[in-house]
C-alpha cells in the first residue's frame, strides 16, 4: 500500500515536471483564484473596520436647560447608563462644553470675539452612544417618560435621525453587496480553475485510455493526477502568499492615508498563518477536486 502511494506520488511529480507548460498555467490560474479569495477576506476586514469606525462616531446629545441642576442631570445619566442598548453616556457641563468650543475655534478671532460679548451660551449635555443605530429609539422613548423631562431643552437625535439611519442602512447594504459580490467572484474563479484543470486532463485523455487498456486500476490512473493537482495547489498558494504580502505591503500606506487608523499590512501580518493555511487549503481542494471531477469522463474506456 505504502509503496503504491510512493509510486503514485512519484508519477504525479514526474507528470508535473514533464508537463511543465500546462502545470505552470494551472498554478497561475489557481494562484489567481487564491489571490482573489484572500483579497475578499481582507476586504471584509476593511469594511468591518470602516463600519465599526462609522458606528463609533454616531451619538446623540441631550441638551438641558441652563437652569437644570447638575445632580438631576447626573441622576438621569446613571439611569440612562442602565439601559441595555446604551454603550456609554458622557456628561459635559457648561464649562467643559465651553472649553471644547474654545479649543476648536481658538484660531478664529471673529468667533472668539463674539463669544466674549455673549458669555457662555452653551448648554450642559449628555452624549449617549448606543451599540447599534436602531437602538437610539429605545433611548429617546425612555427620555420622553422621565421625571426630569422638563429639564431637557432638546434632543438632537430628531435632527440627525435621517442621516444616522441612512448611514446604517448603507453599512448593511455594503455588507450584503460585499458578500454577494464575493460569492459571485469566488464562483467564477473556481469555475475558471476547474476548466483549466479539465483542459489539462483533456490533453491526457489518450494516455488515460492507454493506461486503462494495459490494466491499470482507476485509482492508479487517478492518483497521479490528484497528486499533480495538489502540487499545483501548494505551489500556487506559496507563490500567491509572496505576491500578496508584497502587494499589501506596498498598498498599506495608501490605505492609511484614505482611512486613518487602518493598517492593512498589520491586519494581514497578524493573520499570516491563517491566510497561509486558507491559501494552501483552497489550492489543494481546488486542484484535487477539479481533477477528480474532470478525470471521471475519461476513465470509462
Amino acid at each position: 500500500m505504502i509503496f503504491l502511494l510512493k509510486r503514485i506520488t512519484r508519477a504525479g511529480w514526474l507528470n508535473f515536471i514533464r508537463n511543465s507548460g500546462i502545470s505552470f498555467a494551472t498554478c497561475f490560474i489557481i494562484g489567481m483564484t487564491i489571490f482573489l479569495i484572500v483579497s475578499l477576506f481582507l476586504l471584509r476586514d476593511v469594511t468591518q473596520f470602516l463600519i465599526q469606525n462609522l458606528q463609533e462616531k454616531i451619538d446623540i446629545s441631550v441638551y438641558f436647560k441652563e437652569t437644570a441642576p447638575e445632580e438631576d442631570i447626573l441622576k438621569l445619566k446613571e439611569e440612562i447608563a442602565k439601559i441595555p442598548e446604551v454603550k456609554s453616556v458622557e456628561y459635559i457641563s457648561r464649562v467643559e462644553a465651553l472649553d471644547h468650543f474654545i479649543q476648536r475655534y481658538k484660531n478664529n478671532p471673529v468667533v472668539m470675539e463674539s463669544l466674549n460679548e455673549v458669555g457662555n451660551p452653551l448648554l450642559p449635555a449628555l452624549n449617549i452612544k448606543a451599540w447599534q443605530a436602531n437602538q437610539f429609539t429605545a433611548v429617546t422613548s425612555f427620555l420622553e417618560n422621565v421625571p426630569q423631562k422638563d429639564l431637557i431643552d432638546k434632543v438632537d437625535y430628531y435632527q440627525r435621525k435621517p442621516v444616522i439611519e441612512r448611514i446604517f442602512s448603507m453599512a448593511t447594504t455594503i455588507n450584503v453587496i460585499g458578500i454577494i459580490f464575493s460569492i459571485i467572484l469566488a464562483t467564477i474563479a473556481i469555475l475558471v480553475t476547474f476548466n483549466q484543470i479539465r483542459l489539462a486532463i483533456y490533453s491526457s485523455r489518450e494516455e488515460i485510455s492507454v493506461q486503462r487498456l494495459v490494466g491499470a486500476s482507476n485509482w492508479f490512473i487517478r492518483g497521479p493526477f490528484l497528486v499533480q493537482g495538489a502540487i499545483s495547489g501548494v505551489i500556487a498558494a506559496i507563490a500567491t502568499l509572496f505576491v500578496f504580502t508584497l502587494a499589501v505591503f506596498l498598498l498599506s500606506p495608501k490605505f492609511e492615508i484614505l482611512f486613518t487608523g487602518l493598517n492593512i499590512f498589520n491586519t494581514f501580518l497578524s493573520k499570516l498563518w491563517l491566510f497561509l493555511l486558507i491559501q494552501i487549503l483552497i489550492g489543494i481542494i481546488l486542484g484535487v477536486l477539479s481533477s477528480i471531477i474532470a478525470i471521471r469522463k475519461y476513465l470509462e474506456v
Binding site: F3, R212, L213, V214, S217, N218, F220, E300
Partner: protein
C-alpha cells in the same frame, strides 16, 4: 480460454453521411490454452475489432465474448483492469505513454500489477536487452523510430507474464532481421506456456510458422485451419 460466440460488430453511420460498416459478421471461434493462433486478413478485415472486443474496449452489436468462461462484457468497468492484466497487448499504433520513457513505459505495467521495485528494475532491464533497446531506455516515445516504438510495445506486452498475448501487427514496422527476432521471441514465450494470438498480413511469417491460421475477409471467417497457410 477465449471464445467468440456469434459475434457481430456493426459501426453506425457518422454524422457526415458515411455508410454503416459491418466490421464483424456473426463470428464464432475458440482459442485454447497454450495455443498459437494467427489471424490473417487484409486491412479492414476486422482483426483489430476482434482485439477491441476481447479487451472490452468496445461492445459487440450481437453475440458474446468469453475469457476463461466469463463474459467479458458483463464485467464491471471498475473491474476490467483484472481482465486486461491477463492479456498482454501489442497495439498496432503502439499506444505508448508519451510522457514516460521507454523504460517507464515497460515498467508501468509491472507497477500497476504490484511488482516490487527490485523485480521491476531487474525484469525491465532484461527485457530491454532482449528487444535490443538497452541504449534507448531513457528516450521518450517521440524520440524513438517506428520500429523501436514497436519493440517497446512488445516488451510492454510480455513483461508481466500475461496468460494471453494478443499481438496486433507487431512486425508491421520492423525490418526482416527484427521481424524474425520478434517472431522467435513470441514462439519462445509460447513454448513457456503462454497463449499467443498474432494478427498480421505478413505472408512470409505465416507460411514459416506452420500453426493454426484463421483467415478473415470482410468481417467473416472464411478459413480456419490447423496448419494453415496465407491464402487470400
Amino acid at each position: 480460454m477465449i471464445k467468440f460466440q456469434n459475434v457481430s460488430k456493426i459501426y453506425p453511420k457518422n454524422s457526415f453521411g458515411s455508410e454503416t460498416k459491418v466490421a464483424l459478421g456473426d463470428i464464432s471461434f475458440k482459442v485454447d490454452k497454450k495455443e498459437f493462433v494467427s489471424i490473417v486478413g487484409k486491412s479492414g478485415a476486422g482483426k483489430t475489432t476482434l482485439l477491441k472486443l476481447l479487451l472490452a474496449e468496445e461492445k459487440p452489436t450481437k453475440g458474446r465474448v468469453f475469457f476463461d468462461g466469463k463474459d467479458v462484457h458483463k464485467i464491471k468497468r471498475t473491474d476490467l483492469f483484472k481482465l486486461r492484466r491477463r492479456i498482454g497487448t501489442v497495439f498496432q499504433d503502439y499506444k505508448l505513454l508519451p510522457l514516460k520513457t521507454a523504460y517507464e513505459n515497460i515498467a508501468y505495467v509491472m507497477e500497476v500489477t504490484g511488482y516490487s521495485d527490485e523485480e521491476v528494475a531487474r525484469d525491465v532491464t532484461e527485457v530491454l536487452k532482449i528487444v535490443g533497446l538497452s541504449d534507448k531506455a531513457n528516450n521518450f516515445p517521440a524520440e524513438l523510430s517506428g520500429g523501436e516504438s514497436q519493440r517497446v510495445a512488445i516488451a510492454r506486452a510480455l513483461i508481466h507474464r500475461p496468460d494471453v498475448i494478443f499481438a496486433d501487427e507487431p512486425t508491421g514496422n520492423l525490418d526482416p532481421y527484427n521481424t524474425s527476432e520478434i517472431l522467435k521471441l513470441l514462439l519462445k514465450i509460447h513454448e513457456l506456456g503462454t497463449t499467443v494470438i498474432l494478427s498480421t498480413h505478413n505472408k512470409a511469417i505465416i507460411n514459416t510458422l506452420g500453426k493454426r491460421v484463421i483467415t478473415l475477409e470482410d468481417g467473416k471467417i472464411i478459413r480456419d485451419e490447423e496448419k494453415g497457410r496465407f491464402i487470400l
